[in-house]
């Protein structure tokens, strides 16, 4: 323990040194204020004994400087005075001193006071230590939160932004939102939406939003059905979350036309379909358990399809909206929520203002989300692939005998190969259709001699295909040849398909025209220069590439 003695009299210094050292303390002396301040740095005292007769620096300034040097830790300053000066001490104590001792010194009182001040200083030191450590932890946590928050916003910024047919009011209870709102466009111009509510709030509740959102975006991009998206998110959350945690959610898809809502809902308050006249037309009552509870096998992915009229609106909300004021004993409740909604004519901004007023009065202790979807054509176009088309010409020739015709599906196989070529994917469907029509004609009518007029009755249609497989099994001879010739500069594929059958006679050409009518119509529409040759055994056409 170090005691700084500040006294102008050498005799007093000597006396005090003796006393202080007898208590087992180290001491250093200074004879003026300046000396005391300069001694501070090297000696860093735990107690300062200060004679009130020091005059080179005003007492209040000196005390303040000493205290400032000690920083956040309490530095006891004890004034020394003779008995005659003792009436001045009250005054001195007001300038910032902590105690006083009067001469002649009573050793017992002296020691007791020193101990008391030293204890206070120890206490103050440990508080300062704890404060420093708290401050460090708090800073550390804030930094971690910033990082995690950044990760969340990165994960969620794949969500479709500024989409004008959606209005939202999202009010997280803490910086981490346990409510999850996601929006994505599907490949067919359809719109996917998820509104979820994880149990609890804050970081533990928000953790599950990471895998859920990534799955949602990936599956929306593929155009997956809503039930499958729900099943996949359920599987992940069931694996990830502790048993007491789950996610209430509504996942929906609005068709490109804006007329069809396909939805899956578990554990959410019922979304409301609101007509143009502001009446509630339909409630989307949740049909399922929340996500993350049931195993893959138990999970029910059943959806519901709801038709929406133009200018219908769908309001989705988390239970935070109806539980405003719960903790102050004045819950808003479902009926009052609807009443406010009607009063606002379901304008989201007005509804949000009304809810905000409630929150200011009655408080809130959960995340709150409201999403209003306008059921109109989505205005999102289907995704175009604009790969540059391959410039490499090629010719593909396939000749199939009875064995291959029975065993392989040449058109699918050819298409699988062709769709690997740059720019071919986008027209693989119509190319499939025309090749399949021509190939099936060659097999059915050329090799198998089936009359397609048989297809015209209800039973005939199925019987036709039963007969086809019967004849195919028995087929011994013959072939079908497909030749595809791709000429990049013409932007065309020239196709020739021949068979070894008997060809068409005038008679069955007519029958053929009639029976494969629909197929023929497709071929005429999708190709150019469609001609038969070799007595109907060969068909040739040009497949133009956009």
């Amino acid at each position: 323990m170090r005691v700084l003695i500040v006294d102008s009299s050498a005799r007093n210094q000597q006396e005090l040194t003796t006393i202080v050292q007898s208590f087992g303390y180290t001491s250093q002396s200074a004879s003026c204020g300046k000396g005391a301040l300069s001694a501070y740095a090297n000696f860093s005292p735990d107690v300062v004994l200060l004679d009130i007769a020091i005059e080179d620096i005003a007492m209040d300034v000196l005390v303040a400087k000493m205290k400032a040097l000690a920083g956040a830790i309490y530095l006891p300053v004890v004034f020394l005075a003779s008995a005659s000066e003792s009436k001045l001490l009250t005054e001195y104590l007001q300038v910032g001193g902590d105690d006083f001792l009067t001469k002649p010194f009573d050793s017992i009182v002296f020691q007791a006071k020193m101990r008391a001040h030293i204890r206070t200083r120890e206490l103050s030191r440990s508080v300062a230590e704890q404060n420093r450590s708290l401050a460090w932890h708090s800073e550390h946590m804030q930094q971690e939160h910033r990082i995690v928050q950044n990760m969340f916003s990165n994960a969620l910024n794949r969500s479709l932004q500024n989409y004008n047919q959606i209005e939202t009011y999202l009010l997280p209870h803490t910086i981490f939102n346990g409510d999850l709102y996601l929006l994505a466009r599907g490949p067919l111009g359809n719109l996917y939406l998820l509104l979820g509510d994880f149990t609890g709030h804050g970081l533990p509740a928000a953790i599950g939003t990471l895998p859920a959102s990534q799955t949602f975006f990936a599956m929306a991009e593929l155009g997956s059905p809503v039930g499958q998206i729900a099943a996949e998110i359920n599987r992940q959350l069931n694996q990830l979350l502790p048993e007491s945690m789950f996610c209430c959610a509504t996942i929906l898809e609005l068709s490109a036309s804006g007329e069809r809502i396909s939805w899956w809902s578990g554990g959410m308050p019922p979304a409301m379909l609101i007509a143009e006249n502001h009446e509630i037309k339909e409630y989307l009552q949740p049909q399922h358990m929340p996500l993350g509870i049931l195993s893959d096998l138990e999970f029910e992915s059943g959806i519901t399809i709801t038709r929406a009229a133009p200018r219908d609106r769908l309001l989705l909300y988390s239970d935070g909206a109806i539980e405003v004021g719960v903790q102050s004993g004045r819950p808003l409740g479902y009926e009052r929520f609807k009443r406010i909604g009607r009063q606002c004519r379901w304008q989201l901004s007005e509804l949000a203002d009304a809810i905000q007023d409630r929150i200011e009065k009655d408080g809130i202790d959960d995340d709150l989300s409201m999403v209003l979807l306008h059921c109109l054509p989505t205005g999102l176009s289907s995704k175009e692939q604009d790969d540059e088309r391959s410039k490499m010409p090629f010719c593909l020739s396939v000749r199939l005998g009875p064995e291959e015709i029975r065993g392989v599906d040449p058109v699918s196989t050819i298409l699988r190969g062709l769709s690997q070529i740059e720019g071919f994917k986008e027209f693989k469907a119509p190319l499939y259709t025309v090749l399949a029509e021509a190939y099936n004609n060659a097999v059915d009518h050329g090799l198998l001699r089936l009359a397609s007029s048989a297809k015209s009755s209800l039973d005939g249609f199925e019987n036709y295909y039963i007969e086809r497989s019967r004849r195919l099994v028995r087929l011994q001879h013959g072939f079908v040849e497909l030749i595809l010739n791709y000429i990049p500069k013409d932007a065309c594929i020239y196709v020739k398909i021949c068979d070894s059958g008997k060809g068409f006679t005038a008679e069955n050409t007519e029958a053929g025209e009639y029976s494969f009518g629909r197929g023929l119509m497709l071929m005429k529409e999708l190709t150019r220069d469609l001609v038969w040759s070799d007595g109907g055994r060969c068909v040739e056409f040009t497949f133009p590439i956009r």
Binding site: P187, L188, N190, G223, S224, P225, G227, S255, A256, S257, E259, R260, Q287, G302, I303, T304, I305, S382, S412, L415, E426, F427, K428, A429, P430, Y432, T433, A436, E437, N440, K455, L458, F461, E462, Y465, R468, F516, R518, G519, M521, L522, E525, L526
Partner: protein
């Protein structure tokens, strides 16, 4: 590849998902899928989002379904057609007989 069916939660919609290729390979399976449909079903939905290819035999199968469900007494929706599939339905004027969306 193939065909999957489900009833929607309200029991009014019957949904047939067709994956991959929609052609005569599915003739029997497709017809059986709507045999003995519950009376509650008002709408049959053919979900085509995962249909890659379609040919005239599929068109025939759809027309047969329409006939056997009593043309017009139940709605048949062809939904989530890719543009290429839509083009083929349009050429055949299926929009007059089915609700395409």
């Amino acid at each position: 590849m193939g065909l999957q069916t489900e009833y929607a939660n309200d029991g009014k919609h019957f949904i047939i998902h067709i994956k991959g290729k929609f052609d005569f390979g599915l003739v029997q399976e497709f017809r059986q899928s709507y045999d003995g449909l519950s009376d509650r079903v008002t709408t049959v939905v053919i979900e085509l989002r995962e249909t890659d290819y379609i040919d005239s035999s599929a068109l025939g199968m759809l027309l047969n379904m329409r006939k056997s469900l009593g043309a017009g007494s139940r709605n048949i929706h062809l939904i989530n057609c890719r543009p290429e599939i839509r083009q083929i339905l349009d050429i055949s004027r299926f929009d007059k007989l089915f609700i395409i969306d």
